[in-house]
């Protein structure tokens, strides 16, 4: 299992801030996790459609589609940041 977090407009759009997800495969990546989310009904397909600008962090470090994900990891999806 991994913990998946959603922030800001993505959290509102999906109506979810936090969930536990089983890993889709023994050797999973952010990309394979996104495939799982994209196959959900409702706004999920659209939110994670190719070309959508979201960011991802694995264990609180900025990551990308190729980043490996292992059991116990914390994966966070969010829009481009707007602090400062």
């Amino acid at each position: 299992m991994v913990t998946v977090l959603y922030f800001a407009s993505l959290r509102e759009r999906l109506g979810c801030s936090r969930e536990q997800l089983p890993l889709p495969a023994a050797t999973a990546t952010v990309s394979s996790l996104v495939d799982v989310l994209r196959n959900r009904d409702g706004g999920w397909t659209e939110a994670f459609a190719p070309g959508k600008s979201w960011r991802v962090a694995v264990n609180q470090q900025m990551a990308d589609l190729a980043t490996p994900v292992k059991p116990g990891d914390e994966v966070a999806f969010f829009p481009p940041v707007t602090g400062g």
Partner: protein, 151 residues
Amino acid sequence: MARVRVQTEDFDVGRELESLTHGRTDVGGLASFVGLVRTKNDGQDIQGMTLEHYPGMTEKALEDICGQAHSRWDLLDILVIHRVGTLVPGDRIVLVSVASAHRGEAFEACEFIMDYLKTRAPFWKKEETAQGPRWVDARASDEVAAGRWKG
């Protein structure tokens, strides 16, 4: 060294700057930036805003940015304070202050930290406007500003 704080409450700029130089005589320059909530953004009147962040990652990202600044310039101390929660126009949002022996390094490092904070630290602004709430979009110009520090 660097100190990073994420907090809902306001900060006293004078007191915070004093804390960087108090009791030391090696600081020759202290460069600081204070970011504020302004009334107008993208042509709309802003009544207030809520700042959301990613607790844990935010502090790590800010500490990482300060670490990069320390490795690029010869700095004596860095202080970064960023507020979260509900803010209104005129409120302070962020303070970045850099102490060094000479002004050039302090100025550059302060700008670098702000440019990286705006593009790499997980904060998100939601504005209250007369037309209702809206999430602020990231600006391409902020990425350009951060990109000039590469290489």
